[in-house]
Symmetry: C2
């Protein structure tokens, strides 16, 4: 008998859809019901074998589930929790996949009136710049890290079951505090997205932007790939991880001020020092 | 008979080495002599079939050449020109592959005492984060753009021969002014490199940097690939395209100030506007 009998995925996009596909492939789930607003996307998800059935009503969809995964944009967590609070079975486990954690925890607390002891905040560090159920694929989590940020209130058996779920799809699970998660992700994910969006937008706003992009090479293509990400998802991340993101932006601005100063002064030793330290760190990280 | 009888490549790294390999494969060159300081690198280049022979002395190496390609870092252009000025045959064509053009033109002018009429400033927009002869491969220029920035003094037949050379290795050649080149490349190449180096360095300098990098995902890997580039080459580009680069950095800082303001104000419409414009431009460019 699979570890999860009846899975309910609220938000059947790249992240939720890939999780469902991978769990099915691993034999770790019985049936899967999807919840969403777009009938076209949900029909596609059924056709692709991601979900068995779907509903536009989260409240009824969760009623028979033993595992509920919130895979909606982080801006929608609270209203979804308000919808399901009186319908979620007492022994069902609730988890999410949001890129920010402090804000999601507060939304869940507000949506339920109190923090459910079977809620396990989670974040799979995986994804592409694509979105929608059609982009889902079962290998997405192979070898990727999933960060769980359990709270004082979290039941250990709920944490254990969510951990098993992610491990069964090939992920490496680690736990950390909510605050640490948000600081680290601001630095390694949210800030780079701001830089890529900002760079491409600043070029796009120039008069001769078409010509400028014509002369961009492969390095630029790699560098700006993440600027193709979903604008609404990133709006939500900015709106819901503002303090940590602004802190990361400030540290980056200090670095760029130092770099600017070195260029203005023609300080070649300092430039080599900065570039060499960066190269060593990048080579070690990617090595 | 090949278009180029005797090619002299000064600086047998990724760029110069790949050009030599590609010209040989295209049958567009007779013999190739390489010039450099590292005997190990030059021996490797002979072994890999990139060059036929080599010399550590640029002056004697150019004496029998009809095409000389300066593929040294942009900081070394002037001293090399001083070495070859009394040895370059009168009818030999000289070109370069530097990522900056105004400064290279001034170095060539200073090195020769006047601008040689057979000097054609050039810049292939191609490369990887690797360096050295061992990284060279003949397909590097296939479908890539090469920008030539001829000057008033440049002989049309010299320009035509350099154009043929690049076209024979599969590149698309375009001409533009020196100033326009430097502005466009500052925006699309030099600035992104500063952002990638700056981001990785600012993380590397943090106490818990090893842990931070552990949680970085695929987007971060792509975004920071160019931070693995050669620090000395990028020092030279900063030192030799300072004004255009500082201008591009200023425009970027204005964009980031706007983004910061939108995050601080919680201005979700403005965030979506910025991210959507960036995504549309990136999708169009990469599409």
């Amino acid at each position: 008998m699979p570890d999860i009998a009846r899975l309910c995925i609220i938000g059947v996009g790249l992240i939720g859809g890939s999780l469902a596909l991978a769990l099915r492939q691993a034999g770790a789930v019985g049936s899967v019901i999807g919840v969403g607003r777009s009938a076209a996307n949900l029909e596609e998800a059924v056709r692709l074998g991601i979900i068995d059935s779907y509903s536009h009503d989260a409240a009824t969809a969760v009623e028979s589930a033993d595992m509920v995964v919130l895979a909606v944009p982080v801006g929608s967590i609270r209203p979804v929790c308000e919808q399901i609070r009186d319908h979620l079975p007492a022994d069902a486990i609730l988890t999410d996949v949001g890129s920010v954690k402090a804000d999601v925890v507060e939304q869940v607390r507000a949506g339920f009136g109190e923090l459910p002891a079977r809620f396990v905040p989670g974040h799979p560090i995986a994804g592409t710049e694509k979105s929608g159920a059609a982009a889902a694929f079962p290998e997405l989590y192979q070898g990727r890290r999933v960060l769980l940020t359990p709270l004082q209130e979290t039941f250990p058996e709920a944490l254990a079951k969510v951990r098993r779920m992610w491990e069964s799809v090939g992920a490496e699970v680690e736990t950390m505090t909510v605050e640490h998660h948000d600081t680290v992700l601001a630095a390694t994910s949210h800030l780079p997205h701001m830089l890529a969006f900002g760079l491409v937008d600043s070029l796009a706003r120039q008069q001769d932007s078409d010509e400028i992009f014509r002369y961009a090479a492969g390095g630029f293509r790699d560098f700006t790939r993440i600027a193709s990400s979903d604008p609404v998802m990133w709006r939500d991340i900015c709106m819901h991880n503002g303090p940590a993101l602004l802190g990361a932006m400030s540290r980056f601005e200090e670095e760029m001020a130092e770099l600017r100063d070195a260029i203005e002064q023609g300080d070649s030793d300092r430039l080599v020092e900065i570039f060499s330290r960066a190269k060593a760190a990048r080579d070690k990280f990617a090595g």
